[in-house]
Symmetry: C2
Subunit: 240 residues, 2 copies
């Protein structure tokens, strides 16, 4: 399992992913699920992945191949818009899923993945897309400024309560970390370390990117403070 969450705010884009992958409970590994692509000052794209690692690694590798080939018109750093980026990633995901699944069909198994793709090119607005395993996608809007993939339920209540498009990047950072904290507590298949990325509006580059390790003291402190704050808030609520 996986938990990735992306926020599309007026001030910028905030993305957070975990790194745990597992093939059965007895085979657990750490793999990066956050990938960034930059033509600094011109275009910035961040992609988070959930699902079959054989599918997502192949998609990311092919996206990189296309970027490195100066003749390749389908490079996500050169296609004309963020919508085209989403279409390119969606088509690649659909192709790779189909290739991998046709092999796995023989064993009555399947492989699929989903992705969050977000970014901004010079001359266009910031956009964020959730790409389904079939390659089609939906987009974050003012009404629903966040997208999640993987184990989304435990971390949703906090986002519903505090996130609007007006939320500042600092507040947004707290919100995604607390959303992740609730998920980490409840689902063993979501695990540290975390990858955190911020893109500020109109800069066309990664503003901050950071790996938060399992032993990160700041994150542990935030997690304890949130537990204490919840318990205190609970005490103050009056009975029915």
């Amino acid at each position: 399992m996986t938990y990735c969450v992306g926020l599309l705010l007026n001030a910028g884009i905030v993305m957070l992913s975990d790194t745990r992958t597992n093939a059965g409970l007895d085979n657990i590994s750490t793999y990066r699920k956050m990938f960034t692509f930059e033509d600094p000052g011109e275009r910035v794209i961040a992609i988070m992945t959930a699902g079959s690692l054989s599918v997502t690694q192949t998609v990311i590798a092919r996206l990189n191949d296309a970027i490195e080939d100066p003749e390749d018109e389908s490079s996500i750093l050169r296609v004309p818009s963020m919508l085209k980026v989403a279409e390119t990633v969606g088509a690649m995901l659909s192709d790779v899923s189909f290739e991998v699944s046709s092999k796995m069909d023989r064993m009555n198994q399947g492989a699929s993945a989903s992705m969050i793709v977000a970014g901004q090119r010079r001359g266009g607005p910031m956009r964020m897309f959730l790409i389904y395993p079939e390659g089609n996608f939906i987009e974050a809007t003012e009404d629903t400024p966040y997208l999640q993939i993987g184990e989304h339920k435990y971390g949703k209540p906090i986002l519903d309560r505090v996130i609007t498009v007006e939320t500042s990047l600092d507040e947004a950072e707290k919100a995604v970390l607390l959303s992740m904290d609730s998920t980490l507590r409840s689902n063993l298949s979501v695990g540290m370390p975390l990858d955190f990325t911020v893109i500020e509006e109109g800069t066309f580059r990664i503003a901050r990117t950071r790996r938060i390790e399992a032993q990160d003291e700041g994150f542990a402190r935030m997690s304890h403070a949130w537990s204490d704050a919840l318990r205190e808030a609970f005490q103050r609520i009056e009975r029915l």
Copy 2:
């Protein structure tokens, strides 16, 4: 969908269920999912149900038939222990699921249900069981003093943080209502009104049972207060 939660505490048993059932999003109804059985001063049992209404209604009807037949040794008000109660309900659930599913198999469909069964008989401890669709079951313990059926994820974080076997019945009432509140907000297929039941340890009767209607002002007030408290707590948390 459904959300039912039961707590097995030193002081007693607290149970809360929603009432929404749906056959597709365009066919939504209200049905009771909380059923109580009493031989006051001797035995008390509460059952909450999730899953196919055709299965759960039949199980409850047959349990009632057995209770009304003075010759029927399988009456849950007469079998010798709470473990036997769980076994009786489990066997009934398994039988009914099988009967209904054999009809539905012809249409490539299935029907299943799960239940939480809790109570106390004179001479025995309080016990609470989660009965799976296949009829087997697990039991609440000191380490894990709560059981959930249906849409359990949204409402789990608050329970994990505040419930232990030492929790008072008043605090437990708040906790299950706030757990339900988070679920109601996030899953449209869980809906008001709610049914709430308390059994106090060693009394062998229902202490309180109450239906909380959609327009209940106390519940709305609690829900708003909790939202405000969460937002305040969020504000007070320091950034990483």
